[in-house]
Amino acid sequence: MLEIVIFSTLNGILYGLLLFMLSSGLTLIFSMMGVLNFAHASFYMLGAYFAYTMGMEIGFWPALLLAPILVGGLGAMVEKFGLRRVHENGHVAELLFTFGLAYVIDEMVQLIWGTVAVAYREPDYMREPLFTLFGTDYSIFRGVVILIAVLMFIALWFLLKKTRVGMMIRAALTHGEMVGHLGHNVPRLFMGVFGFGCALAGLAGVIGGPLLATEPGMAVTLGPIVFVVVVVGGMGSLIGAFYASLLIGLIQTFFVAIDASVADILNALGMNVDPYGEVTGITLASLAPMTPFILLVLILIFRPRGLMGELEP
């Protein structure tokens, strides 16, 4: 029992941090530019594939550094030559642009790397157990992932709160035009933020690739969940995205271990339902993969602005 709790917590936090890495970039881009970047998960996929290809030549750690920079650079190009031109046509046009971009990236990946998953794995020395508890190993790689995610979070906080650039970003979040009037190069700021957001997604891909499979469908699998995180956390709130990712990661991981069915819960509350019915027989374990979306529906019903979002003025 205790080992399930310990390992589910560790794995839930790991998964939550990975989701946060992805959704932080999306939140930044949305807060700054009002663009919901549908292609965000595709940049995550590109990060994984770039790291796979580069890792074969130069090793894991250099690839960890270079792949996100490459993805960020690609993102900046997309912003400068694509999004900027679409910007004047309004938000819907930008949305459609990123939507189409997602499809294009998906197909390009299949063309270049094939339709089957590639064997992107962490280096062998990282597959050794970091520690062994109750007979279960916890690999070094997972520890490294948690470390990288925490470091990234600290670096992001530092960037936003303690640097000039961060000050400009925070200002442009609420008073974009004024920042422009004050003489700052807002378009360049936008390009930088978009590129940075994509770089974050790329970093998530470099570590997420070995954890979850590296295959052309990885963007489609994780994409919707990232949106759920952003909505549940509150559009535009980084702290909200953090809480939401951890919440989703922990709930999804814990639910798998719980074999209690809907009937068990209702009966424990005093009701009297058939434990083998179609609906009442569903266990929390089989609901686990659905939890992000159930959470989405619940949040939209009871608190549409999200956990930490602000009310519409």
């Binding site: 399930i4 794995n11 089957v116």
Partner: protein, 406 residues
């Protein structure tokens, strides 16, 4: 001036096209060629294309060349019906499929309806891997032939082997949440109860098909249940990721699987899979027969995929034998001859039982080993034979009441 030249060229190309297709018999493979389960469909496609060269070199189907057409369905039943119609519209009369009993179920119904409404244009469905037992029992169809042992037959053979192993006292079941996965779980529970009532089933999990990317929570659960063995019918991405997570977390319990040798497993697991991943299949990875060894090395050289399933070759060989014997490539004639037909294969004689169109064949339990002469996926690992279960012991009775055409 150019327009009439182009029209003439286009017309002559069309003629050339149709002339060529009149000579070949097309077999359409409706399977996932992209998407999360592509690693289950692509190797089948390559294996079929490779074996077709041999079939054609030996005279093809009653003198006509066989051609494999690949149609991507992404394991989606609706998409499969679209592809089926596409195949029928381009003159295909033989279809094959294997990945996903959900798809096979839709195809069986569609083929039945089509054949009923279009006499003279019948289509034959050669099923190479969709093993829901229903298809050769309550849902048997004259136009469907299954070339793989069904899920109950496989569990029958597997539980015989497990029953003999006195070290196993607690078994954990984990399967995909659809007709096939449910069938595997049910058969495992019933047969283990009968053969080894002392074995305790410490877990029975179902997860959505091809959706779970991270099996670590399930592995945690298996670990804490104290299971001595895990039984799983998972295939494609679901088995590869499951055993990968199990290896990563140092789960000691061996896995008794239907599809443990799926592509990606050997590369992802390496040493951690040796002596831990068992598989029940109609063949194994030793290739003692030099002819089979040749096919493995050639196929890997040409397509970078291993020799996939012996039953695919058996299927093509039986199709050839039936066409040659019936002296026709019309599905009606082929079907009449194919039921009840036998074939000599490298593992012994196999028979296509006429009563339910279920192939009867010997099965093998194999385990992943190192230092194999013919390694899979370019490594030194492959599956070594551990036990043979003869055809008679694999066989199960059927409840099929087939409606035959007059």
């Amino acid at each position: 001036m150019l327009k009439p030249i182009f029209t003439f060229l286009a017309a002559s190309l069309l003629l050339v096209g149709t002339a060529a297709s009149a000579e070949t018999v097309k077999l359409a493979l409706i399977d996932p060629l992209s998407g999360p389960m592509a690693a289950a469909g692509q190797p089948a496609f390559e294996h079929l294309k490779y074996e077709t060269k041999r079939i054609n070199a030996n005279g093809g189907l009653n003198g006509q060349d066989l051609e494999i057409v690949g149609l991507d369905n992404k394991v989606n039943p609706q998409e499969s019906l679209v592809q089926l119609q596409k195949a029928i519209d381009s003159g295909v009369r033989f279809i094959t499929q294997g990945n996903g009993s959900s798809v096979a179920s839709a195809l069986i119904s569609a083929v039945e309806k089509h054949n009923q409404r279009n006499p003279g244009e019948e289509v034959l469905f050669l099923n190479y891997a969709a093993v829901d037992p229903a298809f050769t029992n309550e849902r048997c169809s004259y136009w469907h032939f299954r070339f793989d042992a069904n899920a109950d037959m496989k569990m029958n053979a597997l539980t015989d082997y497990i029953a003999d192993n006195k070290d196993i006292e607690k078994v954990y079941l984990i399967n995909q949440d659809y007709s096939f996965g449910q069938a595997v779980s049910k058969a495992a529970r019933e047969m283990l109860k009968k053969k080894r009532p002392d074995i305790e089933i410490v877990g029975n999990d179902f997860h959505p098909l091809a959706k779970v990317k991270d099996f670590t929570p399930y592995v945690s659960k298996i670990q804490s249940s104290g299971a001595d063995a895990v039984i799983s019918g998972n295939w494609g991405q679901d088995i590869t990721l499951l055993v990968k997570a199990a290896a990563e977390f140092g789960l000691e319990a061996p896995f008794y699987t239907y599809y443990g040798a799926s592509s990606g497993v050997v590369t992802q697991l390496g040493d951690k899979g040796v002596d831990r991943i068992y598989q029940i299949n109609e063949y194994y990875g030793e290739f003692e027969d030099p002819e089979m060894a040749k096919r493995q090395t050639e196929l890997y050289e040409q397509a970078e995929w291993d020799f996939y399933y012996l039953r695919l070759s058996t299927m093509l060989d039986m199709l050839k034998k039936a066409s040659d014997k019936a002296e026709s490539t019309d599905p009606v004639d082929v079907a009449k001859v194919m039921e009840g037909m036998n074939l000599e294969t490298t593992t012994g004689e196999v028979v296509m039982r006429a009563k339910d169109h279920q192939i009867q064949l010997p099965m093998f339990i194999s385990v992943m080993k190192d230092d194999m002469e013919y390694g899979a996926e370019g490594t030194d690992y492959n599956f070594k034979k551990v036990a043979r279960i003869d055809r008679e012991n694999v066989s199960l009775p059927t409840t099929c009441r087939m409606r035959r055409p007059k």
